[in-house]
Protein backbone atom coordinates (compact mmCIF):
# COMPACT_ATOMS: atom_id res chain seq x y z
CA UNK A 1 0.00 0.00 0.00
CA UNK A 2 2.86 2.30 0.86
CA UNK A 3 4.41 1.58 -2.52
CA UNK A 4 1.16 2.53 -4.25
CA UNK A 5 1.00 5.80 -2.34
CA UNK A 6 4.59 6.48 -3.27
CA UNK A 7 3.76 5.86 -6.92
CA UNK A 8 0.75 8.17 -6.73
CA UNK A 9 2.91 10.95 -5.32
CA UNK A 10 4.89 10.85 -8.54
CA UNK A 11 1.85 10.76 -10.80
CA UNK A 12 0.58 13.75 -12.71
CA UNK A 13 -2.66 13.79 -10.71
CA UNK A 14 -0.81 14.48 -7.48
CA UNK A 15 1.28 17.29 -8.97
CA UNK A 16 -1.27 19.05 -11.14
CA UNK A 17 -1.94 22.74 -10.57
CA UNK A 18 -4.48 25.14 -12.05
CA UNK A 19 -1.66 26.54 -14.15
CA UNK A 20 -1.06 23.17 -15.79
CA UNK A 21 -4.75 22.79 -16.60
CA UNK A 22 -4.96 26.30 -18.06
CA UNK A 23 -1.95 25.69 -20.26
CA UNK A 24 -3.30 22.29 -21.39
CA UNK A 25 -6.50 24.09 -22.43
CA UNK A 26 -4.39 26.66 -24.34
CA UNK A 27 -2.58 23.82 -26.12
CA UNK A 28 -5.88 22.20 -27.09
CA UNK A 29 -7.18 25.56 -28.39
CA UNK A 30 -4.04 25.92 -30.55
CA UNK A 31 -4.53 22.44 -31.99
CA UNK A 32 -8.23 23.15 -32.56
CA UNK A 33 -7.48 26.43 -34.37
CA UNK A 34 -4.90 24.70 -36.55
CA UNK A 35 -7.05 21.73 -37.51
CA UNK A 36 -10.49 23.27 -37.59
CA UNK A 37 -9.80 26.83 -38.73
CA UNK A 38 -6.62 26.09 -40.69
CA UNK A 39 -4.71 28.87 -38.89
CA UNK A 40 -1.01 28.19 -39.59
CA UNK A 41 -1.33 24.43 -38.95
CA UNK A 42 2.36 23.77 -39.62
CA UNK A 43 3.21 25.95 -36.64
CA UNK A 44 0.23 25.66 -34.34
CA UNK A 45 0.03 21.85 -34.29
CA UNK A 46 3.67 21.39 -33.12
CA UNK A 47 3.40 24.33 -30.71
CA UNK A 48 0.01 23.22 -29.38
CA UNK A 49 1.21 19.67 -28.84
CA UNK A 50 4.43 21.02 -27.34
CA UNK A 51 2.31 22.94 -24.81
CA UNK A 52 0.64 19.65 -23.84
CA UNK A 53 4.02 17.93 -23.51
CA UNK A 54 5.42 20.78 -21.44
CA UNK A 55 2.47 20.87 -19.08
CA UNK A 56 2.10 17.27 -18.08
CA UNK A 57 2.66 17.64 -14.33
CA UNK A 58 5.40 15.69 -12.60
CA UNK A 59 7.40 15.93 -9.42
CA UNK A 60 10.17 18.40 -10.03
CA UNK A 61 13.62 18.44 -8.48
CA UNK A 62 13.86 14.73 -7.71
CA UNK A 63 16.14 13.85 -10.59
CA UNK A 64 13.51 12.57 -13.00
CA UNK A 65 15.01 14.78 -15.71
CA UNK A 66 11.72 15.20 -17.55
CA UNK A 67 11.10 18.94 -17.76
CA UNK A 68 12.41 21.16 -20.47
CA UNK A 69 14.19 23.29 -17.90
CA UNK A 70 15.88 20.32 -16.16
CA UNK A 71 19.49 19.81 -17.17
CA UNK A 72 20.05 16.52 -18.91
CA UNK A 73 16.47 15.88 -19.98
CA UNK A 74 15.79 15.01 -23.62
CA UNK A 75 13.56 18.05 -24.01
CA UNK A 76 16.31 20.20 -22.54
CA UNK A 77 18.74 19.00 -25.19
CA UNK A 78 16.25 19.76 -27.96
CA UNK A 79 15.54 23.15 -26.37
CA UNK A 80 19.24 23.95 -26.68
CA UNK A 81 18.63 24.81 -30.34
CA UNK A 82 16.15 27.46 -29.28
CA UNK A 83 18.15 28.81 -26.36
CA UNK A 84 21.33 29.19 -28.38
CA UNK A 85 19.57 30.48 -31.48
CA UNK A 86 20.51 27.47 -33.65
CA UNK A 87 17.10 26.82 -35.18
CA UNK A 88 16.22 30.34 -36.46
CA UNK A 89 19.12 30.58 -38.97
CA UNK A 90 18.27 27.08 -40.26
CA UNK A 91 14.65 28.17 -40.74
CA UNK A 92 15.94 31.22 -42.61
CA UNK A 93 17.99 28.96 -44.86
CA UNK A 94 14.80 27.14 -45.82
CA UNK A 95 12.87 30.39 -46.25
CA UNK A 96 15.62 31.70 -48.54
CA UNK A 97 15.51 28.52 -50.61
CA UNK A 98 11.73 28.86 -50.96
CA UNK A 99 11.45 32.59 -51.60
CA UNK A 100 11.19 34.08 -55.05
CA UNK A 101 12.37 37.69 -54.83
CA UNK A 102 11.27 38.46 -58.41
CA UNK A 103 8.42 40.78 -57.44
CA UNK A 104 10.74 42.72 -55.17
CA UNK A 105 13.39 42.97 -57.87
CA UNK A 106 10.86 44.13 -60.44
CA UNK A 107 9.80 47.04 -58.23
CA UNK A 108 12.59 47.69 -55.70
CA UNK A 109 10.97 50.79 -54.20
CA UNK A 110 8.51 48.46 -52.47
CA UNK A 111 11.37 47.52 -50.15
CA UNK A 112 10.68 50.75 -48.30
CA UNK A 113 7.31 49.36 -47.21
CA UNK A 114 9.16 46.49 -45.57
CA UNK A 115 11.22 49.08 -43.70
CA UNK A 116 8.22 51.20 -42.67
CA UNK A 117 6.45 48.26 -41.04
CA UNK A 118 9.40 47.86 -38.66
CA UNK A 119 8.27 50.99 -36.81
CA UNK A 120 6.16 48.65 -34.65
CA UNK A 121 9.33 47.07 -33.27
CA UNK A 122 10.79 50.33 -32.05
CA UNK A 123 7.56 51.80 -30.66
CA UNK A 124 6.87 48.62 -28.69
CA UNK A 125 10.47 48.66 -27.49
CA UNK A 126 9.81 52.02 -25.83
CA UNK A 127 6.36 50.94 -24.59
CA UNK A 128 7.85 47.85 -22.89
CA UNK A 129 10.46 50.04 -21.23
CA UNK A 130 7.73 52.34 -19.94
CA UNK A 131 5.99 49.28 -18.47
CA UNK A 132 9.09 48.46 -16.46
CA UNK A 133 10.88 45.82 -18.51
CA UNK A 134 14.65 46.06 -18.82
CA UNK A 135 16.30 47.37 -22.00
CA UNK A 136 17.18 43.89 -23.22
CA UNK A 137 13.76 42.47 -22.41
CA UNK A 138 12.05 45.43 -24.11
CA UNK A 139 14.05 44.90 -27.29
CA UNK A 140 13.18 41.20 -27.33
CA UNK A 141 9.48 42.02 -26.83
CA UNK A 142 9.53 44.75 -29.48
CA UNK A 143 10.74 42.36 -32.16
CA UNK A 144 7.37 40.55 -32.00
CA UNK A 145 6.17 43.43 -34.21
CA UNK A 146 8.45 42.12 -36.92
CA UNK A 147 5.94 39.23 -37.15
CA UNK A 148 8.80 36.88 -37.75
CA UNK A 149 8.93 33.92 -35.36
CA UNK A 150 12.55 32.87 -36.02
CA UNK A 151 13.82 36.45 -35.69
CA UNK A 152 11.91 36.90 -32.43
CA UNK A 153 13.35 33.67 -31.03
CA UNK A 154 16.84 34.57 -32.23
CA UNK A 155 16.82 37.98 -30.55
CA UNK A 156 15.14 36.74 -27.37
CA UNK A 157 17.71 33.95 -27.06
CA UNK A 158 20.48 36.52 -27.07
CA UNK A 159 18.92 39.33 -25.03
CA UNK A 160 16.25 37.86 -22.77
CA UNK A 161 16.37 34.03 -22.64
CA UNK A 162 14.07 34.08 -19.62
CA UNK A 163 11.24 35.43 -21.81
CA UNK A 164 11.83 33.24 -24.84
CA UNK A 165 8.77 31.02 -24.33
CA UNK A 166 6.32 33.90 -24.00
CA UNK A 167 7.87 35.85 -26.86
CA UNK A 168 7.89 32.87 -29.22
CA UNK A 169 4.32 31.91 -28.40
CA UNK A 170 3.18 35.52 -28.83
CA UNK A 171 5.03 35.92 -32.14
CA UNK A 172 3.69 32.69 -33.62
CA UNK A 173 0.17 33.28 -32.27
CA UNK A 174 -0.05 36.70 -33.89
CA UNK A 175 1.40 35.32 -37.12
CA UNK A 176 -1.41 32.77 -37.12
CA UNK A 177 -3.91 35.51 -36.35
CA UNK A 178 -2.86 37.76 -39.25
CA UNK A 179 -6.20 37.21 -41.05
CA UNK A 180 -7.99 38.42 -37.91
CA UNK A 181 -5.75 41.32 -36.84
CA UNK A 182 -4.85 43.03 -40.10
CA UNK A 183 -8.10 43.54 -42.09
CA UNK A 184 -9.78 45.95 -39.63
CA UNK A 185 -6.63 48.09 -39.42
CA UNK A 186 -6.22 48.15 -43.21
CA UNK A 187 -9.86 49.11 -43.73
CA UNK A 188 -9.67 51.77 -41.05
CA UNK A 189 -6.69 53.47 -42.66
CA UNK A 190 -7.68 53.29 -46.33
CA UNK A 191 -10.57 54.67 -48.36
CA UNK A 192 -12.55 52.59 -50.85
CA UNK A 193 -10.91 54.43 -53.76
CA UNK A 194 -7.47 53.57 -52.41
CA UNK A 195 -8.40 49.91 -51.98
CA UNK A 196 -9.53 49.83 -55.61
CA UNK A 197 -6.20 51.06 -57.02
CA UNK A 198 -4.96 48.63 -59.64
CA UNK A 199 -1.19 48.37 -59.85
CA UNK A 200 0.63 47.73 -63.11
CA UNK A 201 1.92 44.19 -63.52
CA UNK A 202 5.50 43.57 -62.39
CA UNK A 203 8.15 43.40 -65.11
CA UNK A 204 9.94 40.17 -65.82
CA UNK A 205 13.23 39.74 -64.00
CA UNK A 206 16.33 38.20 -65.55
CA UNK A 207 18.13 35.22 -64.09
CA UNK A 208 21.28 37.28 -63.57
CA UNK A 209 19.37 39.79 -61.44
CA UNK A 210 18.01 36.98 -59.31
CA UNK A 211 21.51 35.57 -58.80
CA UNK A 212 23.13 38.93 -58.07
CA UNK A 213 20.49 39.89 -55.48
CA UNK A 214 21.45 37.44 -52.70
CA UNK A 215 25.12 38.38 -52.99
CA UNK A 216 24.56 42.14 -53.04
CA UNK A 217 21.82 41.83 -50.43
CA UNK A 218 24.02 39.86 -48.05
CA UNK A 219 27.04 42.13 -48.36
CA UNK A 220 25.11 45.37 -48.06
CA UNK A 221 22.73 44.49 -45.22
CA UNK A 222 25.27 42.67 -43.08
CA UNK A 223 27.93 45.33 -43.55
CA UNK A 224 25.35 47.80 -42.23
CA UNK A 225 24.00 45.54 -39.49
CA UNK A 226 26.42 42.67 -38.72
CA UNK A 227 24.20 41.51 -35.86
CA UNK A 228 21.80 40.13 -38.46
CA UNK A 229 24.51 37.96 -40.05
CA UNK A 230 23.30 34.54 -38.81
CA UNK A 231 19.81 35.23 -40.12
CA UNK A 232 20.51 37.15 -43.31
CA UNK A 233 23.56 35.04 -44.13
CA UNK A 234 21.44 31.91 -44.19
CA UNK A 235 18.49 33.62 -45.90
CA UNK A 236 20.56 34.85 -48.82
CA UNK A 237 22.59 31.63 -48.95
CA UNK A 238 19.37 29.64 -49.28
CA UNK A 239 18.20 31.99 -52.00
CA UNK A 240 21.43 31.62 -53.96
CA UNK A 241 21.06 27.83 -53.75
CA UNK A 242 17.66 28.24 -55.36
CA UNK A 243 18.52 30.83 -57.98
CA UNK A 244 21.92 29.54 -59.06
CA UNK A 245 20.20 26.61 -60.74
CA UNK A 246 23.18 24.33 -60.17
CA UNK A 247 22.41 23.29 -56.59
CA UNK A 248 18.86 22.10 -57.01
CA UNK A 249 19.35 19.18 -54.63
CA UNK A 250 20.64 21.42 -51.85
CA UNK A 251 17.87 23.94 -52.42
CA UNK A 252 15.29 21.16 -52.32
CA UNK A 253 16.66 19.79 -49.07
CA UNK A 254 16.82 23.24 -47.45
CA UNK A 255 13.32 24.16 -48.53
CA UNK A 256 11.66 20.87 -47.74
CA UNK A 257 13.24 18.28 -45.44
CA UNK A 258 15.52 20.58 -43.45
CA UNK A 259 12.97 23.31 -42.77
CA UNK A 260 10.37 20.67 -41.90
CA UNK A 261 12.67 19.00 -39.37
CA UNK A 262 13.65 22.30 -37.78
CA UNK A 263 10.03 23.51 -37.72
CA UNK A 264 9.02 20.35 -35.86
CA UNK A 265 11.83 20.71 -33.30
CA UNK A 266 11.30 24.45 -32.90
CA UNK A 267 7.53 24.18 -32.58
CA UNK A 268 7.51 21.36 -30.08
CA UNK A 269 10.25 22.78 -27.87
CA UNK A 270 8.86 26.32 -27.91
CA UNK A 271 5.49 24.87 -26.99
CA UNK A 272 7.02 22.75 -24.24
CA UNK A 273 8.84 25.79 -22.86
CA UNK A 274 5.49 27.10 -21.66
CA UNK A 275 5.66 24.93 -18.56
CA UNK A 276 3.03 26.49 -16.28
CA UNK A 277 5.36 26.87 -13.31
CA UNK A 278 7.69 29.18 -15.24
CA UNK A 279 5.46 30.52 -18.02
CA UNK A 280 2.19 31.51 -16.37
CA UNK A 281 3.22 34.88 -14.97
CA UNK A 282 1.84 38.42 -15.27
CA UNK A 283 4.90 39.17 -17.40
CA UNK A 284 3.69 36.74 -20.06
CA UNK A 285 0.30 38.46 -20.19
CA UNK A 286 2.01 41.83 -20.61
CA UNK A 287 4.17 40.39 -23.39
CA UNK A 288 1.05 39.18 -25.20
CA UNK A 289 -0.55 42.62 -24.93
CA UNK A 290 2.62 44.37 -26.11
CA UNK A 291 3.00 41.87 -28.94
CA UNK A 292 -0.50 42.65 -30.18
CA UNK A 293 0.21 46.40 -30.01
CA UNK A 294 3.47 45.90 -31.85
CA UNK A 295 1.78 43.95 -34.60
CA UNK A 296 -0.98 46.51 -35.03
CA UNK A 297 1.45 49.44 -35.14
CA UNK A 298 3.58 47.60 -37.69
CA UNK A 299 0.56 47.02 -39.93
CA UNK A 300 -0.52 50.64 -39.62
CA UNK A 301 3.05 51.83 -40.28
CA UNK A 302 3.21 49.93 -43.57
CA UNK A 303 -0.19 51.12 -44.79
CA UNK A 304 0.44 54.75 -43.87
CA UNK A 305 3.86 54.75 -45.53
CA UNK A 306 2.34 53.37 -48.74
CA UNK A 307 -0.11 56.30 -48.66
CA UNK A 308 2.81 58.65 -48.10
CA UNK A 309 4.67 57.18 -51.08
CA UNK A 310 1.57 57.71 -53.22
CA UNK A 311 1.97 61.46 -52.70
CA UNK A 312 5.09 61.28 -54.89
CA UNK A 313 3.94 58.67 -57.40
CA UNK A 314 1.85 59.38 -60.46
CA UNK A 315 -0.42 57.51 -62.86
CA UNK A 316 -0.17 53.76 -62.95
CA UNK A 317 2.87 53.86 -60.67
CA UNK A 318 0.61 54.53 -57.70
CA UNK A 319 0.52 51.85 -55.02
CA UNK A 320 -2.50 50.20 -53.53
CA UNK A 321 -1.83 51.18 -49.89
CA UNK A 322 -3.13 47.83 -48.65
CA UNK A 323 0.12 46.20 -49.76
CA UNK A 324 1.91 48.23 -47.06
CA UNK A 325 0.34 45.91 -44.49
CA UNK A 326 2.33 43.06 -45.99
CA UNK A 327 5.49 44.83 -44.84
CA UNK A 328 5.18 42.87 -41.60
CA UNK A 329 7.07 39.78 -42.50
CA UNK A 330 4.48 37.09 -41.78
CA UNK A 331 5.21 35.37 -45.09
CA UNK A 332 2.99 34.70 -46.96
CA UNK A 333 -0.05 35.23 -44.74
CA UNK A 334 -0.09 39.01 -44.73
CA UNK A 335 0.29 39.07 -48.54
CA UNK A 336 -2.58 36.61 -48.75
CA UNK A 337 -4.72 38.85 -46.55
CA UNK A 338 -4.03 41.79 -48.89
CA UNK A 339 -4.97 39.62 -51.88
CA UNK A 340 -8.25 38.65 -50.25
CA UNK A 341 -9.11 42.24 -49.37
CA UNK A 342 -8.24 43.35 -52.90
CA UNK A 343 -10.50 40.70 -54.40
CA UNK A 344 -13.29 41.64 -52.02
CA UNK A 345 -13.26 45.17 -53.49
CA UNK A 346 -12.72 44.19 -57.12
CA UNK A 347 -12.80 40.61 -58.36
CA UNK A 348 -10.16 41.39 -60.99
CA UNK A 349 -7.68 43.15 -58.73
CA UNK A 350 -5.01 40.59 -57.87
CA UNK A 351 -2.55 42.10 -55.40
CA UNK A 352 -0.75 38.95 -54.26
CA UNK A 353 2.37 39.41 -56.38
CA UNK A 354 2.62 43.11 -55.47
CA UNK A 355 2.14 42.34 -51.76
CA UNK A 356 4.83 39.66 -51.81
CA UNK A 357 7.45 42.35 -52.46
CA UNK A 358 7.02 44.24 -49.15
CA UNK A 359 6.37 40.89 -47.50
CA UNK A 360 9.82 39.49 -48.29
CA UNK A 361 11.37 42.93 -47.74
CA UNK A 362 9.84 42.76 -44.26
CA UNK A 363 11.80 39.57 -43.57
CA UNK A 364 15.02 41.41 -44.42
CA UNK A 365 13.89 44.54 -42.55
CA UNK A 366 13.01 42.74 -39.33
CA UNK A 367 16.32 40.85 -39.41
CA UNK A 368 18.19 44.13 -39.90
CA UNK A 369 16.23 45.67 -36.99
CA UNK A 370 17.08 42.66 -34.82
CA UNK A 371 20.74 43.07 -35.76
CA UNK A 372 20.68 46.75 -34.80
CA UNK A 373 19.09 46.02 -31.41
CA UNK A 374 21.57 43.21 -30.85
CA UNK A 375 24.57 45.33 -31.76
CA UNK A 376 23.45 48.19 -29.54
CA UNK A 377 22.51 46.18 -26.48
CA UNK A 378 25.10 43.42 -26.59
CA UNK A 379 27.85 45.96 -27.15
CA UNK A 380 26.77 47.90 -24.08
CA UNK A 381 26.43 44.75 -21.93
CA UNK A 382 29.81 43.53 -23.11
CA UNK A 383 31.42 46.90 -22.34
CA UNK A 384 29.75 46.85 -18.92
Amino acid sequence: MEGLMHFLEFSGFANVTWGHLVMICVGIVFIYLAISKDYEPLLLVPIGFGILIGNVPFMEGVGLQLGIYENGSVMNYLYFGVLKGVYPPLIFLGIGAMTDFSTLLSNPKLMLLGAAAQIGIFITFIAALVLGFSLEQSAAIGIIGGADGPTAIFLASRLAPELIGAIAIAAYSYMALVPVIQPPIIKLLTSKEERLIKMKPPRSVTKVEKMVFPIVGLLLTTFISPGALPLLGMLFFGNLLKESGVTKRLADTASKQLIDIVTILLGVTVGASTQATTFLTPQSILIFVLGAVSFMVATAGGVLFAKFMNLFLKGDNKLNPMIGAAGVSAVPDSARVVQMLGLAENKNNHLLMHAMAPNVAGVIGSAVAAGILLSYLLKISWAG
Binding site: P108, F122, L131, G365, V368
Partner: protein, 140 residues
Protein backbone atom coordinates in the same frame (compact mmCIF):
# COMPACT_ATOMS: atom_id res chain seq x y z
CA UNK B 1 30.64 61.38 -26.37
CA UNK B 2 32.70 59.12 -24.07
CA UNK B 3 31.00 60.66 -21.05
CA UNK B 4 27.65 59.86 -22.58
CA UNK B 5 28.65 56.22 -23.09
CA UNK B 6 29.73 55.98 -19.45
CA UNK B 7 26.44 57.54 -18.36
CA UNK B 8 24.54 54.95 -20.39
CA UNK B 9 26.64 52.12 -18.95
CA UNK B 10 25.93 53.35 -15.44
CA UNK B 11 22.22 53.42 -16.22
CA UNK B 12 22.29 49.88 -17.53
CA UNK B 13 24.12 48.59 -14.47
CA UNK B 14 21.33 49.97 -12.30
CA UNK B 15 18.74 48.53 -14.62
CA UNK B 16 15.44 47.69 -12.98
CA UNK B 17 14.12 44.16 -13.35
CA UNK B 18 10.76 43.44 -14.93
CA UNK B 19 7.65 43.71 -12.76
CA UNK B 20 6.83 40.62 -10.73
CA UNK B 21 3.14 41.28 -10.43
CA UNK B 22 0.57 43.09 -12.50
CA UNK B 23 -0.38 45.07 -9.37
CA UNK B 24 3.09 46.62 -9.28
CA UNK B 25 2.98 47.94 -12.81
CA UNK B 26 3.24 51.68 -13.09
CA UNK B 27 3.85 53.61 -16.24
CA UNK B 28 7.35 54.96 -15.91
CA UNK B 29 7.77 57.61 -18.57
CA UNK B 30 10.80 58.97 -16.71
CA UNK B 31 12.61 55.62 -16.96
CA UNK B 32 16.35 56.14 -16.64
CA UNK B 33 16.95 54.24 -19.85
CA UNK B 34 14.33 56.12 -21.82
CA UNK B 35 16.77 58.50 -23.44
CA UNK B 36 18.92 55.61 -24.60
CA UNK B 37 15.90 53.68 -25.87
CA UNK B 38 14.70 56.69 -27.83
CA UNK B 39 18.14 57.02 -29.36
CA UNK B 40 18.18 53.34 -30.35
CA UNK B 41 14.69 53.61 -31.83
CA UNK B 42 15.40 56.69 -33.93
CA UNK B 43 18.78 55.42 -35.11
CA UNK B 44 17.35 51.94 -35.62
CA UNK B 45 14.49 52.94 -37.91
CA UNK B 46 16.79 55.26 -39.87
CA UNK B 47 19.28 52.41 -40.39
CA UNK B 48 16.52 50.00 -41.46
CA UNK B 49 15.28 52.55 -44.00
CA UNK B 50 18.82 53.29 -45.14
CA UNK B 51 19.71 49.60 -45.54
CA UNK B 52 16.63 48.75 -47.57
CA UNK B 53 16.68 52.07 -49.44
CA UNK B 54 20.30 51.59 -50.53
CA UNK B 55 19.59 47.97 -51.43
CA UNK B 56 16.60 49.05 -53.54
CA UNK B 57 18.66 51.73 -55.31
CA UNK B 58 21.52 49.33 -55.92
CA UNK B 59 19.26 46.59 -57.26
CA UNK B 60 17.45 49.11 -59.47
CA UNK B 61 20.79 50.36 -60.83
CA UNK B 62 22.08 46.83 -61.44
CA UNK B 63 18.90 46.04 -63.39
CA UNK B 64 19.43 49.13 -65.55
CA UNK B 65 23.10 48.32 -66.19
CA UNK B 66 22.23 44.73 -67.10
CA UNK B 67 19.57 45.98 -69.49
CA UNK B 68 22.05 48.35 -71.14
CA UNK B 69 24.59 45.57 -71.55
CA UNK B 70 21.93 43.34 -73.08
CA UNK B 71 20.86 46.09 -75.51
CA UNK B 72 24.45 46.69 -76.60
CA UNK B 73 24.95 42.96 -77.20
CA UNK B 74 21.79 42.85 -79.28
CA UNK B 75 22.91 45.91 -81.27
CA UNK B 76 26.26 44.25 -81.97
CA UNK B 77 24.55 41.10 -83.18
CA UNK B 78 22.20 43.21 -85.29
CA UNK B 79 19.09 41.91 -83.54
CA UNK B 80 15.90 43.94 -83.65
CA UNK B 81 15.31 45.91 -80.47
CA UNK B 82 11.64 46.21 -79.63
CA UNK B 83 10.87 49.33 -77.64
CA UNK B 84 7.98 49.57 -75.22
CA UNK B 85 6.13 52.01 -77.48
CA UNK B 86 6.29 49.47 -80.34
CA UNK B 87 4.35 46.89 -78.40
CA UNK B 88 2.04 49.24 -76.51
CA UNK B 89 -0.50 49.28 -79.36
CA UNK B 90 -0.60 45.51 -79.76
CA UNK B 91 -4.22 44.43 -79.44
CA UNK B 92 -5.51 41.59 -77.32
CA UNK B 93 -6.34 39.60 -80.45
CA UNK B 94 -2.68 39.70 -81.52
CA UNK B 95 -1.60 38.59 -78.05
CA UNK B 96 -4.02 35.68 -78.15
CA UNK B 97 -2.77 34.68 -81.62
CA UNK B 98 0.86 34.77 -80.41
CA UNK B 99 0.00 32.73 -77.31
CA UNK B 100 -1.89 30.16 -79.40
CA UNK B 101 0.96 29.88 -81.88
CA UNK B 102 3.50 29.39 -79.10
CA UNK B 103 1.30 26.84 -77.40
CA UNK B 104 0.91 24.84 -80.61
CA UNK B 105 4.60 25.07 -81.34
CA UNK B 106 5.59 23.75 -77.92
CA UNK B 107 3.03 20.97 -78.08
CA UNK B 108 4.24 19.88 -81.47
CA UNK B 109 7.85 19.82 -80.37
CA UNK B 110 6.97 16.58 -78.64
CA UNK B 111 6.43 14.88 -82.02
CA UNK B 112 9.92 15.75 -83.16
CA UNK B 113 11.53 13.74 -80.40
CA UNK B 114 13.99 11.08 -81.38
CA UNK B 115 12.27 7.76 -81.79
CA UNK B 116 15.23 5.69 -80.69
CA UNK B 117 14.25 3.64 -77.68
CA UNK B 118 16.79 1.83 -75.60
CA UNK B 119 16.54 -0.37 -72.60
CA UNK B 120 19.03 0.40 -69.90
CA UNK B 121 19.55 -2.68 -67.80
CA UNK B 122 20.35 -1.97 -64.17
CA UNK B 123 22.90 -4.36 -62.63
CA UNK B 124 21.41 -6.16 -59.67
CA UNK B 125 24.16 -7.66 -57.53
CA UNK B 126 22.95 -10.12 -54.93
CA UNK B 127 22.39 -8.76 -51.45
CA UNK B 128 20.60 -10.50 -48.59
CA UNK B 129 18.79 -7.17 -48.03
CA UNK B 130 17.12 -7.38 -51.40
CA UNK B 131 16.92 -11.11 -51.67
CA UNK B 132 13.69 -12.23 -53.21
CA UNK B 133 13.42 -15.15 -50.90
CA UNK B 134 12.87 -12.84 -47.94
CA UNK B 135 10.20 -10.86 -49.70
CA UNK B 136 7.78 -13.60 -50.62
CA UNK B 137 5.53 -15.62 -48.41
CA UNK B 138 6.19 -19.27 -48.37
CA UNK B 139 3.24 -21.49 -47.67
CA UNK B 140 4.32 -24.85 -46.56
Amino acid sequence: MINKIFEILALIQTNEVAPKSLNNITLDFGNKNMLFAEEISVVGIIIVFAALGILATLIGSIAKVLKLIQLKRMEKKGEVIVSKSDISNVTDEINVAIALALNRYFEEIHDLETAILTIHREPRPYSPWSSKIYNIRRHL
